[in-house]
Symmetry: C2
Subunit: 245 residues, 2 copies
Amino acid sequence: MLSKSNTKYIQSLHHKKYRDEGSTFIAEGSKCVLELLQGGHFACKQIFAMDAWMRQQEPLIRKYFSGPLQIVSDFELEKISLLSTPNQVLAVFSKQVPATYSPVAKITLVLDQLQDPGNLGTIIRIADWFGIEGIICSQHCADMYNPKVVQGTMGSLGRLNILYCNLAEWLQQYKNIPVYAAALNGQNVQTIKGTKEAILVIGNESKGISEEVMQLATQKINIPKTGAAESLNAAVAAGIILSHL
Amino acid sequence: MLSKSNTKYIQSLHHKKYRDEGSTFIAEGSKCVLELLQGGHFACKQIFAMDAWMRQQEPLIRKYFSGPLQIVSDFELEKISLLSTPNQVLAVFSKQVPATYSPVAKITLVLDQLQDPGNLGTIIRIADWFGIEGIICSQHCADMYNPKVVQGTMGSLGRLNILYCNLAEWLQQYKNIPVYAAALNGQNVQTIKGTKEAILVIGNESKGISEEVMQLATQKINIPKTGAAESLNAAVAAGIILSHL
Protein backbone atom coordinates (compact mmCIF):
# COMPACT_ATOMS: atom_id res chain seq x y z
CA MET A 1 0.00 0.00 0.00
CA LEU A 2 1.14 3.48 -0.84
CA SER A 3 1.67 5.59 2.27
CA LYS A 4 0.07 9.00 2.62
CA SER A 5 3.47 10.65 2.79
CA ASN A 6 4.66 8.94 -0.41
CA THR A 7 1.45 9.96 -2.18
CA LYS A 8 1.95 13.56 -1.08
CA TYR A 9 5.62 13.50 -2.00
CA ILE A 10 5.00 12.33 -5.56
CA GLN A 11 2.11 14.71 -6.04
CA SER A 12 4.42 17.52 -4.95
CA LEU A 13 6.78 16.61 -7.82
CA HIS A 14 4.06 17.60 -10.28
CA HIS A 15 5.19 21.14 -9.40
CA LYS A 16 8.46 22.77 -10.37
CA LYS A 17 9.02 24.30 -6.94
CA TYR A 18 9.25 20.90 -5.28
CA ARG A 19 11.22 19.32 -8.13
CA ASP A 20 13.77 22.09 -7.65
CA GLU A 21 13.85 21.71 -3.88
CA GLY A 22 14.61 18.01 -3.90
CA SER A 23 16.36 17.97 -7.26
CA THR A 24 14.16 15.08 -8.36
CA PHE A 25 11.53 14.48 -11.03
CA ILE A 26 9.03 11.83 -12.08
CA ALA A 27 8.73 9.74 -15.23
CA GLU A 28 5.67 7.69 -16.11
CA GLY A 29 4.76 4.76 -18.29
CA SER A 30 6.55 1.54 -19.07
CA LYS A 31 8.50 2.73 -22.13
CA CYS A 32 9.61 6.04 -20.64
CA VAL A 33 10.69 4.60 -17.26
CA LEU A 34 12.59 1.68 -18.83
CA GLU A 35 14.36 3.97 -21.30
CA LEU A 36 15.50 6.36 -18.57
CA LEU A 37 16.65 3.45 -16.40
CA GLN A 38 18.64 1.85 -19.21
CA GLY A 39 19.95 5.19 -20.46
CA GLY A 40 21.70 5.61 -17.13
CA HIS A 41 21.83 9.41 -17.27
CA PHE A 42 19.62 9.90 -14.25
CA ALA A 43 19.90 8.01 -10.97
CA CYS A 44 16.64 6.27 -10.10
CA LYS A 45 15.40 6.73 -6.55
CA GLN A 46 12.09 4.88 -6.33
CA ILE A 47 9.78 2.84 -8.55
CA PHE A 48 6.03 2.47 -8.06
CA ALA A 49 4.35 -0.08 -10.29
CA MET A 50 1.40 -2.40 -10.66
CA ASP A 51 1.95 -5.96 -9.59
CA ALA A 52 1.85 -7.61 -13.05
CA TRP A 53 4.29 -5.10 -14.57
CA MET A 54 6.69 -5.37 -11.64
CA ARG A 55 6.80 -9.16 -11.82
CA GLN A 56 7.49 -9.05 -15.54
CA GLN A 57 10.11 -6.29 -15.45
CA GLU A 58 11.88 -6.95 -12.14
CA PRO A 59 14.79 -8.97 -13.64
CA LEU A 60 15.48 -6.15 -16.11
CA ILE A 61 15.04 -3.39 -13.50
CA ARG A 62 17.42 -5.07 -11.08
CA LYS A 63 20.25 -4.75 -13.59
CA TYR A 64 20.03 -0.98 -13.23
CA PHE A 65 18.46 -0.26 -9.87
CA SER A 66 18.90 -1.70 -6.42
CA GLY A 67 16.62 0.70 -4.52
CA PRO A 68 13.03 0.35 -3.33
CA LEU A 69 10.34 -1.14 -5.57
CA GLN A 70 6.79 -0.57 -4.44
CA ILE A 71 3.67 -2.34 -5.69
CA VAL A 72 0.68 -0.03 -6.13
CA SER A 73 -2.96 -0.63 -7.07
CA ASP A 74 -4.47 0.99 -10.16
CA PHE A 75 -6.35 3.30 -7.82
CA GLU A 76 -3.14 4.37 -6.08
CA LEU A 77 -1.32 4.85 -9.37
CA GLU A 78 -4.15 7.06 -10.57
CA LYS A 79 -3.70 9.25 -7.52
CA ILE A 80 -0.03 9.96 -8.16
CA SER A 81 -0.16 9.97 -11.97
CA LEU A 82 -0.58 12.95 -14.27
CA LEU A 83 -1.57 10.84 -17.27
CA SER A 84 -5.22 10.62 -18.23
CA THR A 85 -4.69 6.87 -18.58
CA PRO A 86 -1.97 5.91 -16.05
CA ASN A 87 0.40 3.38 -17.54
CA GLN A 88 1.53 0.77 -15.01
CA VAL A 89 4.57 2.49 -13.56
CA LEU A 90 5.85 5.77 -12.16
CA ALA A 91 9.45 6.35 -11.08
CA VAL A 92 11.31 9.09 -9.25
CA PHE A 93 14.70 10.08 -10.66
CA SER A 94 17.41 12.51 -9.56
CA LYS A 95 17.99 15.51 -11.80
CA GLN A 96 21.30 15.78 -13.54
CA VAL A 97 23.76 18.55 -12.74
CA PRO A 98 24.21 20.29 -16.11
CA ALA A 99 27.65 19.71 -17.61
CA THR A 100 29.61 22.67 -18.89
CA TYR A 101 28.81 23.10 -22.55
CA SER A 102 30.71 24.82 -25.32
CA PRO A 103 29.01 25.60 -28.65
CA VAL A 104 32.33 25.74 -30.53
CA ALA A 105 32.36 23.60 -33.70
CA LYS A 106 28.79 22.44 -33.08
CA ILE A 107 25.19 23.24 -33.93
CA THR A 108 23.47 24.51 -30.78
CA LEU A 109 19.80 25.17 -30.22
CA VAL A 110 18.72 28.20 -28.17
CA LEU A 111 15.12 28.46 -26.95
CA ASP A 112 13.82 31.88 -26.02
CA GLN A 113 10.78 31.66 -23.71
CA LEU A 114 9.43 28.50 -25.29
CA GLN A 115 6.51 27.91 -23.00
CA ASP A 116 4.67 24.78 -24.02
CA PRO A 117 6.03 21.60 -22.37
CA GLY A 118 4.77 19.51 -25.29
CA ASN A 119 6.78 21.63 -27.71
CA LEU A 120 9.89 21.47 -25.51
CA GLY A 121 9.65 17.67 -25.32
CA THR A 122 9.28 17.38 -29.09
CA ILE A 123 12.19 19.78 -29.68
CA ILE A 124 14.50 17.81 -27.38
CA ARG A 125 13.61 14.66 -29.37
CA ILE A 126 14.24 16.44 -32.70
CA ALA A 127 17.57 17.77 -31.44
CA ASP A 128 18.58 14.27 -30.39
CA TRP A 129 17.58 12.97 -33.85
CA PHE A 130 19.89 15.46 -35.52
CA GLY A 131 22.76 14.81 -33.13
CA ILE A 132 22.59 18.21 -31.40
CA GLU A 133 24.53 18.09 -28.12
CA GLY A 134 23.29 21.18 -26.35
CA ILE A 135 20.13 23.21 -25.84
CA ILE A 136 20.31 26.56 -24.09
CA CYS A 137 16.99 27.69 -22.60
CA SER A 138 16.02 31.12 -21.34
CA GLN A 139 14.94 31.23 -17.73
CA HIS A 140 11.30 31.53 -18.78
CA CYS A 141 11.21 28.38 -20.88
CA ALA A 142 9.13 25.41 -19.78
CA ASP A 143 10.96 23.24 -17.23
CA MET A 144 12.81 20.31 -18.82
CA TYR A 145 11.74 18.17 -15.86
CA ASN A 146 8.04 18.96 -16.28
CA PRO A 147 6.36 15.52 -16.52
CA LYS A 148 4.95 16.40 -19.96
CA VAL A 149 8.43 17.19 -21.24
CA VAL A 150 9.85 13.99 -19.77
CA GLN A 151 7.03 12.06 -21.50
CA GLY A 152 7.51 13.84 -24.81
CA THR A 153 11.26 13.32 -25.06
CA MET A 154 10.96 9.51 -25.16
CA GLY A 155 14.31 8.93 -23.49
CA SER A 156 16.24 11.66 -25.30
CA LEU A 157 16.26 13.81 -22.17
CA GLY A 158 19.49 12.42 -20.74
CA ARG A 159 21.44 12.50 -23.99
CA LEU A 160 21.61 16.28 -24.32
CA ASN A 161 23.13 19.05 -22.25
CA ILE A 162 20.25 21.35 -21.41
CA LEU A 163 21.13 24.58 -19.61
CA TYR A 164 18.89 27.37 -18.30
CA CYS A 165 20.49 30.82 -18.24
CA ASN A 166 20.28 34.43 -19.32
CA LEU A 167 20.42 34.08 -23.10
CA ALA A 168 21.86 37.50 -23.89
CA GLU A 169 24.74 36.95 -21.46
CA TRP A 170 25.37 33.46 -22.79
CA LEU A 171 25.34 34.56 -26.44
CA GLN A 172 27.75 37.39 -25.75
CA GLN A 173 30.44 34.86 -24.83
CA TYR A 174 30.44 33.42 -28.35
CA LYS A 175 30.60 36.35 -30.71
CA ASN A 176 32.44 34.40 -33.40
CA ILE A 177 29.71 31.82 -33.88
CA PRO A 178 26.92 32.72 -36.34
CA VAL A 179 23.56 33.14 -34.63
CA TYR A 180 20.53 32.31 -36.79
CA ALA A 181 17.18 33.58 -35.55
CA ALA A 182 13.97 31.96 -36.80
CA ALA A 183 11.78 34.90 -37.86
CA LEU A 184 8.99 35.62 -40.30
CA ASN A 185 11.01 38.22 -42.20
CA GLY A 186 14.28 36.34 -42.60
CA GLN A 187 16.32 34.79 -45.37
CA ASN A 188 15.00 31.59 -46.99
CA VAL A 189 16.23 28.61 -44.95
CA GLN A 190 16.87 26.69 -48.18
CA THR A 191 19.76 29.03 -49.00
CA ILE A 192 21.60 28.13 -45.77
CA LYS A 193 23.23 24.76 -45.90
CA GLY A 194 25.89 22.49 -44.53
CA THR A 195 26.85 24.65 -41.57
CA LYS A 196 29.06 22.92 -39.01
CA GLU A 197 29.02 25.64 -36.39
CA ALA A 198 25.96 27.72 -35.63
CA ILE A 199 23.54 28.77 -32.94
CA LEU A 200 19.88 28.53 -33.91
CA VAL A 201 17.40 30.58 -31.87
CA ILE A 202 13.72 29.58 -31.70
CA GLY A 203 11.33 31.98 -29.98
CA ASN A 204 8.15 31.93 -27.97
CA GLU A 205 5.10 30.29 -29.57
CA SER A 206 3.19 33.54 -29.99
CA LYS A 207 5.62 36.39 -29.35
CA GLY A 208 8.64 35.01 -31.17
CA ILE A 209 12.17 36.01 -30.14
CA SER A 210 12.68 38.79 -27.59
CA GLU A 211 14.27 42.03 -28.77
CA GLU A 212 17.29 41.64 -26.53
CA VAL A 213 18.14 38.27 -28.06
CA MET A 214 17.19 39.27 -31.60
CA GLN A 215 19.79 42.05 -31.48
CA LEU A 216 22.49 39.44 -31.00
CA ALA A 217 21.46 37.44 -34.08
CA THR A 218 23.77 37.61 -37.07
CA GLN A 219 21.07 36.47 -39.49
CA LYS A 220 17.31 36.01 -39.53
CA ILE A 221 16.07 32.91 -41.29
CA ASN A 222 12.62 32.05 -42.45
CA ILE A 223 10.69 29.04 -43.72
CA PRO A 224 9.04 30.27 -46.93
CA LYS A 225 5.27 30.21 -46.83
CA THR A 226 3.28 29.53 -49.96
CA GLY A 227 -0.08 28.95 -48.28
CA ALA A 228 -2.29 30.82 -45.86
CA ALA A 229 -1.55 29.48 -42.36
CA GLU A 230 -0.62 32.21 -39.91
CA SER A 231 2.21 30.35 -38.23
CA LEU A 232 4.06 27.08 -37.90
CA ASN A 233 4.32 25.14 -34.66
CA ALA A 234 7.64 26.03 -32.93
CA ALA A 235 8.81 22.40 -32.82
CA VAL A 236 8.03 21.91 -36.51
CA ALA A 237 9.93 25.10 -37.38
CA ALA A 238 12.92 23.89 -35.33
CA GLY A 239 12.83 20.53 -37.11
CA ILE A 240 12.67 22.08 -40.57
CA ILE A 241 15.52 24.52 -39.96
CA LEU A 242 17.74 21.86 -38.35
CA SER A 243 17.14 19.56 -41.31
CA HIS A 244 18.44 22.30 -43.62
CA LEU A 245 21.46 23.17 -41.44
CA MET B 1 -29.28 29.91 -18.90
CA LEU B 2 -28.15 26.90 -20.85
CA SER B 3 -30.92 24.31 -21.20
CA LYS B 4 -30.37 20.70 -20.25
CA SER B 5 -31.00 19.61 -23.82
CA ASN B 6 -28.45 22.09 -25.22
CA THR B 7 -25.88 20.93 -22.66
CA LYS B 8 -26.47 17.32 -23.63
CA TYR B 9 -26.40 18.15 -27.33
CA ILE B 10 -23.03 19.89 -27.16
CA GLN B 11 -21.54 17.22 -24.93
CA SER B 12 -22.65 14.65 -27.50
CA LEU B 13 -20.55 16.47 -30.12
CA HIS B 14 -17.43 15.55 -28.14
CA HIS B 15 -17.94 12.14 -29.77
CA LYS B 16 -17.47 11.28 -33.43
CA LYS B 17 -20.65 9.23 -33.65
CA TYR B 18 -22.85 12.23 -32.88
CA ARG B 19 -20.78 14.62 -34.99
CA ASP B 20 -21.34 12.26 -37.92
CA GLU B 21 -25.06 11.89 -37.22
CA GLY B 22 -25.79 15.60 -37.24
CA SER B 23 -22.93 16.58 -39.53
CA THR B 24 -21.87 19.25 -37.04
CA PHE B 25 -18.81 19.92 -34.88
CA ILE B 26 -17.69 22.31 -32.14
CA ALA B 27 -14.95 24.90 -32.01
CA GLU B 28 -13.76 26.59 -28.84
CA GLY B 29 -11.93 29.69 -27.78
CA SER B 30 -12.08 33.24 -29.02
CA LYS B 31 -9.37 32.99 -31.70
CA CYS B 32 -10.53 29.67 -33.13
CA VAL B 33 -14.23 30.59 -33.28
CA LEU B 34 -13.59 34.01 -34.83
CA GLU B 35 -11.23 32.57 -37.43
CA LEU B 36 -13.71 29.90 -38.48
CA LEU B 37 -16.52 32.47 -38.63
CA GLN B 38 -14.50 34.88 -40.74
CA GLY B 39 -13.05 32.11 -42.88
CA GLY B 40 -16.57 31.33 -44.06
CA HIS B 41 -15.83 27.71 -44.94
CA PHE B 42 -18.18 26.28 -42.35
CA ALA B 43 -21.72 27.51 -41.67
CA CYS B 44 -22.12 28.51 -38.03
CA LYS B 45 -25.20 27.15 -36.28
CA GLN B 46 -25.01 28.38 -32.66
CA ILE B 47 -22.70 30.42 -30.46
CA PHE B 48 -22.43 30.08 -26.67
CA ALA B 49 -20.32 32.72 -24.97
CA MET B 50 -19.69 34.56 -21.74
CA ASP B 51 -21.39 37.90 -21.37
CA ALA B 52 -18.32 40.14 -21.61
CA TRP B 53 -16.97 38.40 -24.71
CA MET B 54 -20.36 38.48 -26.42
CA ARG B 55 -20.81 42.19 -25.81
CA GLN B 56 -17.37 42.93 -27.19
CA GLN B 57 -17.58 40.67 -30.25
CA GLU B 58 -21.26 40.94 -31.20
CA PRO B 59 -20.75 43.63 -33.88
CA LEU B 60 -18.10 41.51 -35.57
CA ILE B 61 -20.06 38.26 -35.21
CA ARG B 62 -23.17 39.78 -36.73
CA LYS B 63 -21.33 40.42 -39.98
CA TYR B 64 -21.01 36.67 -40.43
CA PHE B 65 -23.77 35.06 -38.45
CA SER B 66 -27.45 35.84 -37.97
CA GLY B 67 -28.40 32.77 -35.89
CA PRO B 68 -28.82 32.30 -32.13
CA LEU B 69 -26.32 33.76 -29.66
CA GLN B 70 -26.53 32.41 -26.15
CA ILE B 71 -24.95 33.89 -23.02
CA VAL B 72 -23.52 31.25 -20.66
CA SER B 73 -21.94 31.46 -17.22
CA ASP B 74 -18.38 30.25 -16.65
CA PHE B 75 -19.83 27.26 -14.85
CA GLU B 76 -22.03 26.38 -17.82
CA LEU B 77 -19.19 26.85 -20.29
CA GLU B 78 -17.06 24.51 -18.23
CA LYS B 79 -19.74 21.87 -18.52
CA ILE B 80 -19.81 21.89 -22.32
CA SER B 81 -16.11 22.61 -22.90
CA LEU B 82 -13.32 20.11 -23.50
CA LEU B 83 -10.56 22.59 -22.69
CA SER B 84 -8.88 22.41 -19.30
CA THR B 85 -9.28 26.20 -19.15
CA PRO B 86 -12.44 27.06 -21.12
CA ASN B 87 -11.93 30.18 -23.18
CA GLN B 88 -15.02 32.38 -23.29
CA VAL B 89 -16.81 30.92 -26.28
CA LEU B 90 -17.90 27.68 -27.91
CA ALA B 91 -19.64 27.48 -31.29
CA VAL B 92 -21.35 24.76 -33.28
CA PHE B 93 -20.57 24.62 -37.00
CA SER B 94 -21.81 22.49 -39.89
CA LYS B 95 -19.31 20.13 -41.44
CA GLN B 96 -18.30 20.76 -45.01
CA VAL B 97 -19.15 18.33 -47.79
CA PRO B 98 -15.72 17.36 -49.18
CA ALA B 99 -15.11 18.79 -52.65
CA THR B 100 -13.82 16.50 -55.37
CA TYR B 101 -10.04 16.66 -55.33
CA SER B 102 -7.51 15.84 -58.00
CA PRO B 103 -3.82 15.47 -57.13
CA VAL B 104 -2.71 16.25 -60.71
CA ALA B 105 0.00 18.94 -60.87
CA LYS B 106 -0.01 19.36 -57.08
CA ILE B 107 1.70 18.17 -53.94
CA THR B 108 -0.77 16.05 -51.97
CA LEU B 109 -0.41 14.70 -48.46
CA VAL B 110 -1.66 11.20 -47.65
CA LEU B 111 -2.03 10.12 -44.00
CA ASP B 112 -2.09 6.42 -43.25
CA GLN B 113 -3.69 5.69 -39.87
CA LEU B 114 -2.40 8.84 -38.22
CA GLN B 115 -4.06 8.48 -34.87
CA ASP B 116 -3.18 11.43 -32.67
CA PRO B 117 -5.59 14.38 -33.05
CA GLY B 118 -2.83 16.79 -31.96
CA ASN B 119 -0.59 15.53 -34.76
CA LEU B 120 -3.40 15.75 -37.31
CA GLY B 121 -4.14 19.35 -36.31
CA THR B 122 -0.48 20.31 -36.58
CA ILE B 123 -0.15 18.57 -39.96
CA ILE B 124 -3.19 20.41 -41.37
CA ARG B 125 -1.57 23.69 -40.27
CA ILE B 126 1.78 22.73 -41.83
CA ALA B 127 0.05 21.73 -45.07
CA ASP B 128 -1.72 25.08 -45.15
CA TRP B 129 1.61 26.86 -44.57
CA PHE B 130 3.14 25.15 -47.60
CA GLY B 131 0.09 25.76 -49.79
CA ILE B 132 -0.98 22.12 -49.98
CA GLU B 133 -4.58 21.91 -51.23
CA GLY B 134 -5.53 18.37 -50.34
CA ILE B 135 -5.01 15.79 -47.60
CA ILE B 136 -6.20 12.23 -48.11
CA CYS B 137 -6.73 10.31 -44.86
CA SER B 138 -7.18 6.59 -44.39
CA GLN B 139 -10.41 5.59 -42.70
CA HIS B 140 -8.57 4.92 -39.44
CA CYS B 141 -7.04 8.37 -39.12
CA ALA B 142 -8.13 10.71 -36.32
CA ASP B 143 -11.33 12.59 -37.19
CA MET B 144 -10.66 16.03 -38.68
CA TYR B 145 -13.63 17.35 -36.68
CA ASN B 146 -12.30 16.07 -33.36
CA PRO B 147 -12.25 19.19 -31.11
CA LYS B 148 -8.49 18.78 -30.55
CA VAL B 149 -7.89 18.82 -34.29
CA VAL B 150 -10.11 21.86 -34.75
CA GLN B 151 -8.17 23.61 -31.98
CA GLY B 152 -4.78 22.62 -33.39
CA THR B 153 -5.43 23.76 -36.95
CA MET B 154 -5.88 27.40 -35.92
CA GLY B 155 -8.31 28.19 -38.73
CA SER B 156 -6.52 26.21 -41.46
CA LEU B 157 -9.21 23.53 -41.33
CA GLY B 158 -11.50 25.12 -43.90
CA ARG B 159 -8.79 26.00 -46.39
CA LEU B 160 -7.89 22.43 -47.37
CA ASN B 161 -9.78 19.59 -49.01
CA ILE B 162 -9.61 16.73 -46.54
CA LEU B 163 -11.01 13.39 -47.69
CA TYR B 164 -11.34 10.08 -45.85
CA CYS B 165 -11.18 7.00 -48.06
CA ASN B 166 -9.52 3.67 -48.78
CA LEU B 167 -5.95 4.79 -49.51
CA ALA B 168 -4.97 1.87 -51.73
CA GLU B 169 -8.01 2.38 -53.93
CA TRP B 170 -7.43 6.12 -54.11
CA LEU B 171 -3.73 5.77 -54.95
CA GLN B 172 -4.46 3.29 -57.73
CA GLN B 173 -6.33 5.97 -59.64
CA TYR B 174 -3.17 8.08 -60.01
CA LYS B 175 -0.47 5.73 -61.17
CA ASN B 176 1.41 8.44 -63.05
CA ILE B 177 2.07 10.59 -59.99
CA PRO B 178 5.17 9.75 -57.92
CA VAL B 179 4.31 8.47 -54.45
CA TYR B 180 6.91 9.22 -51.76
CA ALA B 181 6.64 7.20 -48.57
CA ALA B 182 8.27 8.49 -45.38
CA ALA B 183 10.24 5.53 -44.03
CA LEU B 184 13.32 4.85 -41.95
CA ASN B 185 15.12 3.03 -44.75
CA GLY B 186 14.50 5.47 -47.61
CA GLN B 187 16.48 7.85 -49.78
CA ASN B 188 17.81 11.04 -48.15
CA VAL B 189 15.10 13.71 -48.37
CA GLN B 190 17.75 16.31 -49.20
CA THR B 191 18.30 14.69 -52.59
CA ILE B 192 14.64 15.18 -53.61
CA LYS B 193 13.89 18.73 -54.54
CA GLY B 194 11.65 21.10 -56.39
CA THR B 195 8.94 18.58 -57.21
CA LYS B 196 5.71 20.11 -58.51
CA GLU B 197 3.63 16.95 -58.55
CA ALA B 198 3.89 14.29 -55.88
CA ILE B 199 1.99 12.36 -53.28
CA LEU B 200 3.67 12.19 -49.87
CA VAL B 201 2.57 9.41 -47.51
CA ILE B 202 3.03 9.75 -43.74
CA GLY B 203 2.28 6.71 -41.61
CA ASN B 204 1.03 5.84 -38.17
CA GLU B 205 2.96 7.26 -35.18
CA SER B 206 4.30 3.90 -34.08
CA LYS B 207 3.61 1.40 -36.85
CA GLY B 208 4.49 3.57 -39.84
CA ILE B 209 2.91 2.98 -43.25
CA SER B 210 0.77 -0.13 -43.81
CA GLU B 211 2.09 -2.77 -46.18
CA GLU B 212 -0.78 -2.34 -48.60
CA VAL B 213 -0.04 1.35 -49.05
CA MET B 214 3.75 0.91 -49.00
CA GLN B 215 3.52 -1.38 -52.02
CA LEU B 216 2.06 1.48 -54.02
CA ALA B 217 4.93 3.87 -53.18
CA THR B 218 7.35 4.67 -56.00
CA GLN B 219 10.08 5.81 -53.61
CA LYS B 220 10.84 5.65 -49.90
CA ILE B 221 12.31 8.80 -48.41
CA ASN B 222 14.02 9.32 -45.12
CA ILE B 223 15.18 12.17 -42.90
CA PRO B 224 18.83 11.35 -42.13
CA LYS B 225 19.53 10.78 -38.46
CA THR B 226 22.87 11.72 -36.97
CA GLY B 227 21.86 11.41 -33.32
CA ALA B 228 20.32 8.77 -31.10
CA ALA B 229 16.56 9.48 -30.93
CA GLU B 230 14.44 6.52 -31.92
CA SER B 231 11.91 8.43 -33.98
CA LEU B 232 10.68 11.83 -35.06
CA ASN B 233 7.18 13.10 -34.34
CA ALA B 234 4.95 12.44 -37.40
CA ALA B 235 4.02 16.12 -37.79
CA VAL B 236 7.65 17.20 -37.61
CA ALA B 237 8.58 14.60 -40.23
CA ALA B 238 5.79 15.84 -42.51
CA GLY B 239 6.99 19.43 -42.08
CA ILE B 240 10.60 18.58 -42.85
CA ILE B 241 9.78 16.56 -45.98
CA LEU B 242 7.34 19.17 -47.30
CA SER B 243 9.95 21.89 -46.80
CA HIS B 244 12.34 19.89 -49.01
CA LEU B 245 9.75 19.09 -51.70
